[in-house]
Symmetry: C2
Subunit: 479 residues, 2 copies
């Protein structure tokens, strides 16, 4: 029912989100609690995300593969922190083919263990390194509180798993992938992100170091939008992933893993969306432009449709993703609302008068009302549309960055800090102590999101304990 | 160890297959019985298969989506034949998040039930029809006897699920998808297939009609390489998938489903492979051409590599998928064997003499030895390679078709029939009776593969019972 108004973000951000996801037909609830159906429109968006990431992975020498869904329960137990982190979240298969299994199997919550097992078999010498494999799949984690895209029992993602000969190479890989996530978020999704290092408390279960990109949502909360882990030799030791070095000495490998998931769809929604619905960045939008033909009589219809089809072909030939809304029995106004809900970046309106004047109306989704409308001649339409899509892409990024800046404080003391994390991000000196981190979380519900790679330099005093601090960190309430 | 010879096909076809899959690094065994790891080279082949199919699906108006992995156990029970067919093969999740589940969940063996549930919710009126959705995923069926790619507990595939307003539309869709599978097999994989109708006994559990494409493998056995099912109103009734027609009357929908899986990789191996290993059809090969530079001294190396890189760039710019084998410490002969095992259609050899003469040696994988080698000038290399790849693609198809023809008999009586199915396919009149089909299976181990869409016309006598028969069918032993 796209003609019903959404709850506004100001009224109830969370309710706005849930309604939008359903009404834009991005996803739906599945019969199993906490699972989701990603509907065709949502999946088309995800396909564009995967294509943009996959291109970057392959350009940096990675290849795709597929490891099994089912993992022996005992594998999870092999790495100490890993088992502690994932045991409570496992889905367990106890029966197969009508019989009870000798050893229970788990549905992968992530694949470090089963891939570690394979790498141990495949890697013999330094010549076999590095191994740079990614896989696109879904994983299952038994979450209690779920939200479509943001946290679901089953979610879709990519998980990269690499093995290297040295600690330096593993660290370089970990950082390279963080850079790729950053580049993707900024350039493709128009989502400004802060790349940084996680605290020990927030690390992946089994990692020596976790990096993440953090984004500010429309309600000023943080969302972790991608992570890259340096696993050190932890999994290599647990799974005996070893290689003969050039000197003939057996060494443990250094491994990494990194992932980005359908959660990122939630980020796009909450960064760009407005009270009319979704706003999609042109580079990822399934449809970059929707044509809404406007007519009353059959004669008008014939003339408008003929012209509309011609324009469609011209735009498609120029590589623009176009949807033609030919639905009968729906008013143009209804269609406008419908495509606004779905966040199509540009709308092309074409009525009999436009046909007569050989022009069209282009309406920008990111600027509602008259301000976003312009009359554009049909001559050279493809170039005009391409340019406008680029402008929208840039405008979305600029707006999101400005919003984050406006809602990020650098509080002078802890009192200011407490107010700051009520409203948005606090960027503060932190001593690095787990105790301060825990106290802050306890007292304010804000967590240490990351220590940004980009630091102001110098040093200061920890916002909580006042002891000397060498780095500044982002604190915020988070999804 | 690509320098070790494969068991030949004549010695032991099944062992040849297993060795080839492992040595070409297409797949590996997983720690869980019957599961497989699809290795990067095998997955790159699968990615090319998926791209070729996905393009065809989208060109015919289908969209992709993602339905959940986990299905309530009770869903499977809703369609009578479906439950009978799939119950024995289910993997059952009984515990999640450390607790016993109230209702056990099954890992999807196929998604008719969960998609039927969603369609019932999404479809209200004739305006919502048709729904044409496909998904790429993996499913789990608890098979007892497994073989890499051919039959695994978890396998990768696409499953299309459509809903229509009329029986005619559903049948047209079912046939359209069979045509798409046929076109894909013939044009992309160079695999000749026989599209036809299955018998009642061989139908999908819950279908009114199943169509399949059947291919002859290198050991003359049949392999079902893709199926398309007309589900009638069976699932629509079980899941209450209904729509209001134009007259305002509530009607049940007509649904279809269709799938092609990683099994097709097995078909490619067994149709084209030879005693040296895999032979990949150029249109699907991850690498269409491998460059093997040949040199002894450092000077030679410099000259050869400079020339090789130039050729590589030229070929890549022309859209050819090129692998440069720069591995050190391996002889050219070793590399030749290695890439023959992996089935790369063309090998480009380049030594100091070739550099001097501004030519290269091209060696066709499908014609071993001198016969397949030619000296080609470097001038115009991309066009020469493109043409040769087309020739190889055609030659592979022609050879496979000729092989099938040579091993397909039209036996005059049941005695001849029994001999024919020992050696290959028998194309025989069949009365259509399940009893004859069962007797034949019992006595010869051959099954009714399909009733080809292309029929000679006229009528004859059933090869088993001698009663009048209106159609001819393919009988063969099958994978």
């Amino acid at each position: 029912m796209p003609d019903m108004k959404l709850t506004t973000r100001a009224e109830d951000f969370s309710e706005w989100y849930n309604q939008l996801v359903l009404r834009a037909e991005l996803a739906d609830y599945a019969p199993v609690r906490g699972c989701m159906i990603v509907r065709p429109y949502g999946w088309a968006l995800w396909e564009n995300i995967t294509a943009a990431l996959d291109k970057r992975f392959k350009a940096t020498g990675h290849v795709n593969a597929a490891f099994p869904l089912l993992i022996p329960r005992s594998f999870i137990d092999k790495e100490k922190s890993h088992v502690a982190g994932f045991s409570p979240e496992l889905a367990v298969v106890t029966h197969g083919g009508g019989e009870k299994l000798e050893e229970p199997l788990v549905i992968r919550p992530t694949s470090e263990t089963i891939i570690g097992h394979a790498y141990a078999k495949w890697i013999q010498s330094y010549r076999d390194l590095p191994i740079l494999i990614n896989q696109w799949n879904s994983v299952v984690r038994w979450e209690l509180r779920t939200r479509l895209f943001l946290r679901t029992l089953e979610f879709f993602w990519q998980e990269g798993h690499t093995a290297h000969a040295t600690a330096e190479e593993a660290e370089a890989e970990t950082r390279q992938m963080l850079d790729i996530y950053t580049d993707f978020a900024v350039r493709e999704a128009a989502v400004p992100v802060i790349p940084g290092r996680k605290s020990a408390a927030e690390r992946f279960a089994g990692a020596d170091q976790t990096y993440s990109i953090e984004a500010m949502m429309g309600d000023c909360k943080a969302l972790q939008a991608g992570t890259s882990h340096n696993l050190g030799q932890n999994f290599a030791k647990a799974f005996e992933i070893r290689y003969l070095d050039k000197g003939g000495v057996l060494q443990h490998c250094w491994t990494t893993s990194w992932g980005m998931s359908t959660r990122f769809v939630g980020a796009i929604i909450m960064v760009h969306g407005d009270d009319q619905g979704l706003i999609l960045p042109p580079r990822l939008a399934p449809f970059q432009l929707v044509i809404v033909p406007i007519y009353k009589t059959d004669d008008e219809r014939a003339a408008v449709m003929e012209n509309a089809q011609r324009l469609r072909r011209e735009l498609v030939d120029a590589g623009i993703r176009v949807k033609m809304d030919e639905r009968e029995g729906m008013s143009p106004g209804f269609k406008f609302n419908d495509w606004e809900m779905r966040g199509v970046p540009l709308r092309l309106e074409l009525g009999p008068k436009d046909v007569a004047k050989a022009s069209v109306v282009l309406a920008r989704r990111d600027r509602p009302g008259k301000e976003g409308k312009s009359f554009v001649p049909q001559q050279g339409i493809a170039a005009a549309v391409a340019q406008m899509l680029e402008e929208i892409q840039k405008a979305l990024y600029d707006r999101a960055l400005e919003f984050r800046r406006a809602n990020t404080a650098e509080p002078a003391d802890y009192e200011e800090f407490k107010k700051a994390v009520e409203k948005g991000f606090a960027f503060s000196w932190w001593c690095g102590g787990t105790e301060c981190e825990e106290k802050i979380k306890e007292e304010t519900k804000a967590t240490m999101r990351c220590i940004p790679l980009e630091q102001p330099g110098g040093s200061g005093k920890c916002i909580y304990c006042g002891q000397p601090a060498a780095e500044k960190a982002i604190f915020a309430k988070a999804y």
